[in-house]
């Protein structure tokens, strides 16, 4: 550590350049650590379990062409046909598709005739095959019996009297019941029509996983002739075959309709497209920035070394070892980097404060900043290593040569 003083005085002569590199490192640290915390949050958000067999499900819906079309009849026949097809594990009719960005939600209460303080939740109307068709896990109670499934219309007030709910819905609506909600009843806002909970499924993120109602879901035993989707779960690995086959068979059974089909995987990718883009763009930023900073350090170290060739030669002639020369430049870089990282740690917190306040982003834990700082330090040392090794190879003879 004998060289600290000469390094400091040398740096002092290049204070602006040194400061610029430190500044660059600092800004990079601030940007990269904040980018990482955002990426982290988005990645976690996208990888949350959805509670359904997302890789095996295909959904279909059709639009009939003739005006008077027997929808309920079509459902029954289509469903029977689909369930008999090879590769199909299960199928159900539903008003909405999880992860699709389209569905229904409402406010629910644990007491009748209330108007404020609702617990928001998604709701689905489905036939008795819904648990199996979505690939959900029943944790308590039962599903629906076929005779419980009602036919309802959006322009009528018919409402089911039983429901299966998600664990989260149960916990949020009845916080003091410790999840033991079988047999309890809940209500829509402003009325006294009780809906009894007969079963609980482990999880269902709903049509809008990024919304505040995500995870709270209620399933009603009902089918409507207006908004419906066929939810078909294929045997593992059979999905694409099933999609083609069902499309063909539906058209074959009745060519007089328009059929649209999507896989849940597509719907999910579409729903998370924004988050996904954010993660990709941010990783691009992190990589490019690190690269640029490394380039800057290489460029400047090379410049300094060329400038100080003669001095290096003199030191070598006076007996300094190659290691000593190499160590000199690495130490110099370390001091600059340390300054930069100190600046950057502060800047990272300030940036994060802004992000939290203005853009509702997550708070930056110190651990992320520290690990970014360590990584940057390594990059910075690595970037100065090659020029430093070159400096070590400068022959003592340079000293005697006049420049």
């Amino acid at each position: 550590m004998l060289e600290l003083r000469p390094i400091l005085s040398a740096l002092w002569r290049h204070k602006v350049s040194a400061l610029l590199i430190a500044l660059q490192l600092g800004l990079t640290l601030a940007i990269v650590s904040n980018a990482l915390v955002v990426m982290n949050e988005r990645t976690e958000r996208m990888s949350r379990p959805t509670g359904i067999a997302e890789n095996d499900i295909v959904t279909f819906n059709f639009m009939a062409i003739p005006k008077d079309y027997d929808m309920y009849g079509a459902f029954r026949q289509d469903m029977d046909m689909i369930r008999s097809l090879p590769g199909v594990a299960s199928a159900s009719v539903s008003n909405a598709v999880p992860l699709s960005g389209s569905g229904s939600a409402s406010g629910f209460y644990s007491e009748p005739n209330k108007e404020t303080g609702a617990t928001g939740a998604n709701y689905y109307t489905m036939d008795e095959h819904f648990i199996d068709a979505l690939g959900m896990k029943l944790v308590a109670g039962r599903g629906f019996y076929p005779e419980e499934v009602m036919k309802i219309s959006p322009s009528s007030n018919d409402r089911p009297t039983i429901a299966v709910v998600t664990q989260k819905f149960a916990d949020d609506l009845f916080p003091e019941s410790n999840g033991n909600v079988l047999g309890k009843v809940f209500f829509n806002g402003g009325d006294d029509h009780p809906i009894k909970i007969v079963g609980i499924v482990e999880r269902n993120l709903g049509p809008w996983p990024n919304s505040s109602v995500a995870g709270r879901g209620a399933f009603y035993p009902a089918i409507t002739d207006r908004w419906f989707h066929y939810i078909v779960r294929a045997e593992p690995g059979q999905r694409d075959k099933v999609q083609k086959l069902v499309e063909e068979k539906l058209a074959e059974r009745d060519g007089n309709r328009v059929i649209n089909s999507h896989t849940i995987e597509e719907e999910k990718a579409q729903y998370y497209a924004g988050d996904n883009t954010m993660v990709k763009v941010l990783s691009g930023v992190v990589i490019l920035l690190t690269f640029i900073v490394a380039l800057g350090i290489v460029g400047l170290t090379v410049f300094w070394i060329t400038q100080r060739q003669k001095q290096i030669g003199v030191r070598r002639a006076l007996g300094a070892t190659r290691t000593a020369i190499c160590r000199y430049f690495l130490l110099e870089n370390l001091m600059i980097a340390a300054t930069g990282i100190a600046l950057g740690t502060a800047a990272a917190q300030i940036f994060n404060g802004l992000l939290v306040r203005e853009f509702d982003q997550p708070v930056l834990p110190l651990m992320i900043t520290v690990s970014c700082a360590v990584a940057l330090l390594v990059v910075s040392l690595a970037a100065s290593l090659i020029p430093a090794l070159r400096a070590a190879n400068i022959s003592p003879a340079t000293a005697t040569r006049s420049v």
């Binding site: 602006v16 350049s17 610029l20 590199i21 500044l23 660059q24 800004l27 940007i31 980018a35 955002v38 639009m63 009939a64 062409i65 003739p66 005006k67 008077d68 108007e115 404020t116 322009s155 009528s156 007030n157 806002g189 402003g190 207006r226 908004w227 007089n256 309709r257 328009v258 649209n260 990718a269 579409q270 497209a273 924004g274 996904n276 883009t277 954010m278 990709k280 763009v281 941010l282 691009g284 930023v285 490019l288 920035l289 640029i292 900073v293 380039l295 800057g296 290489v298 460029g299 400047l300 090379v302 410049f303 060329t306 400038q307 940036f351 992000l355 203005e358 853009f359 509702d360 982003q361």
Partner: protein, 437 residues
């Protein structure tokens, strides 16, 4: 002199190819990243109705829950109820006015090989085309009575007309929509505003409608909109008619008000209307309505969302890092040439001359960086189109304004970056270098 400086700059850049390439690359990457996100935001926040920004207004009425304001920045529901829309349509103050919503259904032709397909529809009153300035290729809008009662007429978009009729004049022909025959009365020109200012309810950048249907059809088809329907209270609904008379909101409403007198009169009209409704027990909240110009509507609906704005700032911070990098490298480069500058100074060059010479050199770096930046921006936008964000296809492209902005940004950045190094070197004391030579 300028030409000479440029040739000096080129010679100097050639002499240190690695350092020069690093500087150009730093600026190019900075400009590329900044311009990619700026372009996206610029294209997203464009106002597709800018031409009529002074006369068009989106209408909001606050008939929401007395306990709780509507949950959006305007604190009013985005849409109107059917009954309010029908009532407002009776006003004769606006030059044009439109109540509308999205719908859709299967469309087909009798005796045709064309497979039936689901067409995205806009159910709207007849002023739609005049209000939003949608030009027609053939024909025009439907008859006035089609806004009150069921008249089976429709307007096709150019794309739908191409698909169904191969682009011929289809006015007077019959298409089946939702199982019943409609007469084509008009075909619009290609009209694809982006963002879709007139309907921000169903995806800001989604496709426009493929067919346009008259407002008088609701009861005949029991139309349930394809879009958000929001309600705030529990209502007894036992028929479609109940639904039309409910307090659920699902229609968008726009008016064209050409003069200040019209605006004044319309404000009075809305105030009067809400008062009248309050007397009948509706509109429990304090009297409030909204008239927003297209530009205000875009801001209110947060078309450019938090993520986009965050990326904007991020890209500027990114550009800043690249600039600091360029300053450091330029400084190194210029200081290396200090002996040369010293000699020039000793031979009589003024400080100004040395300064401008180096500023020219840094602008050259900037220009090259700018060109590189445009290439990187184009690559960046292409990459974003690859990220399958759906609507991004329509947004991620660069126009001339943005290309010029990229070069401008690069040159300004490198001038800024070159300022300090050029100043430093113009301060060189000639005597030192004369001595060491």
């Amino acid at each position: 002199m300028f030409g000479y400086y440029v040739s000096l700059a080129i010679r100097s850049l050639r002499r240190t190819p690695v350092l020069s390439a690093l500087m150009v690359a730093a600026i190019a990457v900075g400009v590329g990243a900044a311009m990619t996100t700026l372009t996206l935001n610029y294209m997203m926040s464009r106002n597709a109705l800018a031409a009529k920004d002074d006369v068009l207004y989106a209408v909001q009425l606050d008939g929401w829950d007395p306990h709780e304001a509507s949950d959006n920045p305007s604190e009013m529901p985005w849409q109107l109820t059917y009954q309010d829309s029908v009532n407002l349509l009776r006003s004769d103050i606006p030059t044009h006015q439109v109540a509308m919503h999205r719908w859709g259904g299967p469309i087909s032709l009798e005796d045709s090989d064309i497979r039936p397909f689901t067409a995205d529809a806009r159910v709207t009153s007849s002023d739609f085309f005049a209000l939003f300035g949608v030009p027609f290729i053939y024909g025009g809008t439907w008859s006035a009575e089609a806004d009150q009662g069921p008249v089976q007429q429709l307007v096709l978009s150019k794309e739908t007309n191409d698909k169904l009729f191969g682009g011929e004049n289809s006015v007077g022909r019959t298409v089946n929509f939702n199982g019943v025959p409609f007469t084509v009365v008009g075909v619009t020109e290609h009209w694809q505003p982006s963002p879709k200012v007139h309907d921000l309810n169903n995806g800001h950048f989604n496709e426009s409608a493929e067919v346009f249907l008259p407002f008088g059809l609701h009861r005949t088809f029991e139309i349930y909109p394809w879009g958000n329907t929001n309600g705030w209270k529990s209502e007894e609904i036992n028929s479609y008619e109940d639904r039309l008379n409910s307090d659920m909101v699902w229609l968008q409403y726009w008016v064209q008000l050409d003069t200040p007198q019209q605006i004044e009169a319309y404000r009075d009209f809305l105030t009067g209307y809400i008062r009248e409704q309050k007397e009948q027990g509706r509109f429990p909240r304090p009297l409030k309505f909204g008239l927003s110009k297209p530009s205000e509507w875009l801001v209110l609906n947060e078309v450019v969302d938090g993520d986009d704005r965050m990326l904007n700032w991020l890209s500027l911070a990114f550009l800043l890092v690249c600039l600091v990098n360029a300053v450091a490298l330029l400084l190194a480069k210029f200081l290396r040439k200090a002996p040369e500058a010293g000699v020039r100074r000793a031979l009589g060059a003024s400080r100004n001359a040395v300064f401008s010479q180096h500023l020219v050199e840094s602008s050259c770096v900037g220009l090259l960086g700018g060109l590189g930046g445009i290439l990187l921006t184009l690559a960046g936008l292409a990459l974003i189109r690859q990220l399958q964000m759906g609507y991004m296809d329509r947004v991620a492209s660069m126009d001339w304004t943005m290309m010029l902005a990229a070069i401008g940004l690069a040159v300004i950045s490198s001038l800024l970056a070159g300022f300090y190094p050029a100043w430093r070197i113009s301060r060189t004391n000639p005597s030192i270098y004369l001595k060491t030579q």
